[in-house]
């Protein structure tokens, strides 16, 4: 589904991603871990097409199509979704209005009419129930004054609304309280199917107890320095990253 080959990316001539290789198949869950500043969010941004980062080498393919010349919105239309580590505020635009616009723009790109208001309402009701979101919340300005946890839950609500093929969740777990984490994780699990894939960027093992990954990768200095099964996350929790850093320095 998503194939990343020898990906190099830099910002202001500073190389951040230094040759990433990763293949994610439909139905899989991959976790990406790694120390602060190792390039996890950068990788997510590059997959989503943020042109602040310059891809200097390598490629990202979605279902066999090279995404090089594909704009961020087109990537979204093709099914790429990014749950932001730091969701952005858009004052005066309600969550509902934002989602309505997003869905209808995707439909427009596919030559479809706007979604009828009735269906939109039904969808909103269904997905807000899934994530146990109070509907009053949806009339508030997007992310403005939201608590850290509310922002993250709202990101997953958007994911639920858009039903992406590849969802990248960048530290969605940080900021969520214990109950919220359970709700959000169970939401993600319900949205998971054999036709889509999830990339979880996280620092903590706890999330991976709820959403169990098929693979765990460790990113360090812009490279994947180790990959393994779900037990790798446990090992990291116990040992930290130093042993890996030393291993790769050799």
């Amino acid at each position: 589904m998503l194939k990343i080959k020898d990906l190099h990316a830099s910002v202001d001539d500073k190389e951040i991603l230094r040759g990433i290789n990763l293949e994610i198949k439909a139905g899989e869950v991959h976790a990406i871990m790694g120390p602060n500043g190792s390039g996890k969010s950068t990788l997510a941004s590059v997959i989503a097409g943020n042109d602040n980062f310059e891809v200097t080498q390598g490629s990202v393919e979605l279902e066999g199509e090279d995404l090089e010349d594909v704009s961020p919105e087109e990537r979204a239309h093709k099914g790429v979704f990014l749950s932001f580590q730091y969701p952005i505020e858009i004052p005066g635009v309600s969550v509902t209005n934002f989602m309505k616009t997003a869905i209808n723009e995707s439909r427009k790109a596919k030559g479809l009419e706007d979604m009828p208001a009735k269906d939109m309402l039904k969808l909103i009701r269904e997905k807000s129930e899934l994530l146990e979101i109070d509907r009053k919340f949806l009339s508030r300005s997007l992310n403005e004054g939201f608590s850290g946890g509310e922002k993250k839950r709202n990101e997953i609500f958007q994911m639920a609304m858009l039903e992406p093929k590849v969802a990248i969740l960048d530290e969605t777990d940080s900021g969520l309280d214990i109950d919220a984490l359970r709700i959000v994780a169970s939401g993600v699990n319900k949205l998971k199917s054999k036709d889509n894939a999830v990339i979880l960027i996280t620092h903590y093992q706890r999330l991976l107890e709820y959403i169990v990954p098929d693979f765990v990768h460790v990113l360090h200095n812009g490279k994947i320095v180790k990959s393994g099964g779900k037990e790798l996350a446990l090992e990291l929790e116990e040992k930290g990253y130093d042993w890996l850093k030393q291993e790769t320095a050799v």
């Binding site: 989503a48 097409g49 943020n50 042109d51 602040n52 010349d69 704009s71 961020p72 919105e73 990537r75 979204a76 239309h77 790429v80 979704f81 990014l82 932001f84 969701p87 952005i88 505020e89 858009i90 004052p91 005066g92 635009v93 209005n97 934002f98 616009t101 997003a102 869905i103 723009e105 995707s106 790109a109 300005s141 958007q158 858009l162």
Partner: protein
């Protein structure tokens, strides 16, 4: 990757001013130039009574002794007032005709303007008066309104049919000598709307006027006089467009609102005069004087969405004369390319416990300059006066400017005046966030701008709010690289 600068620029070039067509209607246009003979000729053409002619002549004499103001934060080549024709009328316009007799070319023009007079007549509860160049060509719903005793007609007709009302109120809020453009307007105004709501009457529908400059080389000088008698209510809408032309066209209007004891007037404007092309050539000079007087317990709300014109100079104001009267000003001003806007309001608190609210949203893009200029004045006798002002500016790109000039003059110690101001930029991160959800950049900007302007958009009547949102979107197309 996303949009390149080049692609955006190209896109902008193809998005031209939507209302920039010119309708070839036979018209009756005066030679250019301005002198006493022209003023008299206008008055004659309008078959005005002598008092009106004399009033114009007095205004003309005052105007001759005045200088064009230079204090506004706008720069432009001064219009040559001797190089403008002061009267132009579509030949087939006859104010006594009903709508069914209106020239089909004119109707076609309305259709392009998105004003289906017929449709509006039937579907929406909006009475429309349309002013093309210098004359009013169609007023709908006259009969329905007449049953309530409401008078809604071109001002040229009102001068003849209701001279007592016109004589009593015209110039009482904006006197001839008020300012340079108001004096000019008083001398040469050609049409506009007149409206009177009798005591205790709630006007059952929105009243609306569409202004259009069609003919080349003409100025438009319309004058609106609206009187809401005691305890009455009216909501009034005004829309403006003009064809795209290389030369600058002059528009100098005067609007006077009179809200008698306990009356309420909502006055909404969507101004979309031609803004000039992307190099800053052409466009309308919009020099407008709008003012309201509020008697006891009266309330006036000005709501404006200003997206057009090359240069805007406009300060809809309220004189809060009566105790407990309320003045409100809600404004969205958008400037793009080389547009310049200097707009705001004056709230003059004379009565006790008077209240005013000012919400101004300025959006600047391209190389434009957008200034808010506001005065809150509290007279020594205005005990308990209160004002709240909020001025927010949104910038796009690095070449535009936003400026705020709030003036406060409080001569009464009990006055409570609050002023808040913010300036923000549309962030790349906001655009990317929208893009990531599948929303293209242009749409993202529209969404962000609409969100920014929401408090003001919400004040507009429904039908107008939708139109205004679309207009914001069009005005800002191609504004971010």
């Amino acid at each position: 990757m996303a949009y390149t600068e080049e692609e955006l620029k190209k896109e902008l070039e193809t998005k031209e001013y939507e209302y920039g067509f010119y309708t070839d209607i036979e018209s009756d246009t005066f030679p250019i130039g301005l002198n006493e003979e022209i003023v008299i000729a206008i008055s004659k053409k309008k078959e005005e009574p002598e008092w009106m002619t004399l009033w114009r002549l007095e205004a003309f004499r005052i105007w001759k002794s005045m200088e064009e103001p230079t204090w506004a934060n706008v720069h432009y080549d001064k219009p040559d007032f001797q190089n403008i024709s002061y009267y132009s009328a579509p030949k087939s316009a006859d104010p006594n005709k009903t709508l069914d007799d209106v020239d089909p070319d004119l109707l076609e023009m309305y259709r392009k303007l998105g004003i289906s007079v017929d449709e509006q007549k039937k579907l929406q509860n909006v009475a429309v008066d349309i002013v093309v160049d210098s004359v009013s060509v169609a007023t709908t719903f006259k009969k329905t309104l007449a049953e309530k005793g409401i008078i809604f007609m071109p001002i040229s007709e009102a001068i003849k049919e209701h001279p007592e009302l016109v004589k009593k109120y015209m110039g009482t809020v904006v006197p001839q000598k008020d300012n340079f453009y108001a004096a000019l307007n008083s001398a040469v105004f050609t049409d506009g709307s007149f409206c009177y709501i009798p005591k205790g009457v709630r006007c059952p529908m929105e009243l609306s006027t569409y202004f259009r400059i069609n003919q080349a080389g003409t100025g438009q000088f319309e004058r609106t006089l609206l009187i809401a008698d005691e305890d009455s209510y009216v909501s009034y809408l005004e829309g403006c467009t003009a064809p795209s032309r290389d030369e600058n066209q002059l528009h100098a209007a005067v609007v006077e609102l009179i809200a008698l004891d306990g009356a309420e007037i909502k006055y909404s404007t969507v101004q979309n005069w031609f803004p000039g092309n992307k190099e800053g050539k052409g466009g309308v000079f919009n020099f407008v004087t709008k003012r309201a007087i509020c008697e006891k317990n009266a309330k006036v709300s000005w709501t404006q969405v200003e997206t057009g014109s090359a240069v805007t100079w406009k300060y809809p104001s309220c004189i809060l004369k009566g105790d407990n009267s309320i003045g409100e000003f809600y404004s969205i001003a958008v400037t793009n390319n080389y547009q310049q806007a200097d707009t705001g309001t004056k709230m003059v608190h004379l009565g006790k416990n008077t209240k005013s609210t000012i919400i101004s949203k300025g959006i600047s893009a391209g190389k434009s300059q957008n200034s808010y200029r506001g005065l809150v004045q509290v007279n020594s006798r205005a005990d308990g006066a209160r004002n709240f002002s909020q001025c927010d500016s949104l910038l796009m790109g690095n070449e535009c400017g936003a400026h705020t000039f709030p003036y406060i003059e409080a001569k009464n110690k009990t006055a409570m005046i609050e002023h808040e101001a913010t300036t923000s930029k549309i962030g790349e991160d906001q655009i990317f966030y929208c893009n990531q959800r599948g929303i293209p950049t242009e749409k993202a900007i529209a969404l962000i701008v609409n969100g920014f302007s929401k408090e003001v958009l919400n004040k507009l009547p429904m039908e107008f709010a939708v139109e205004a949102q679309k207009l914001l979107e069009i005005s800002l197309e191609g504004s971010v690289g």
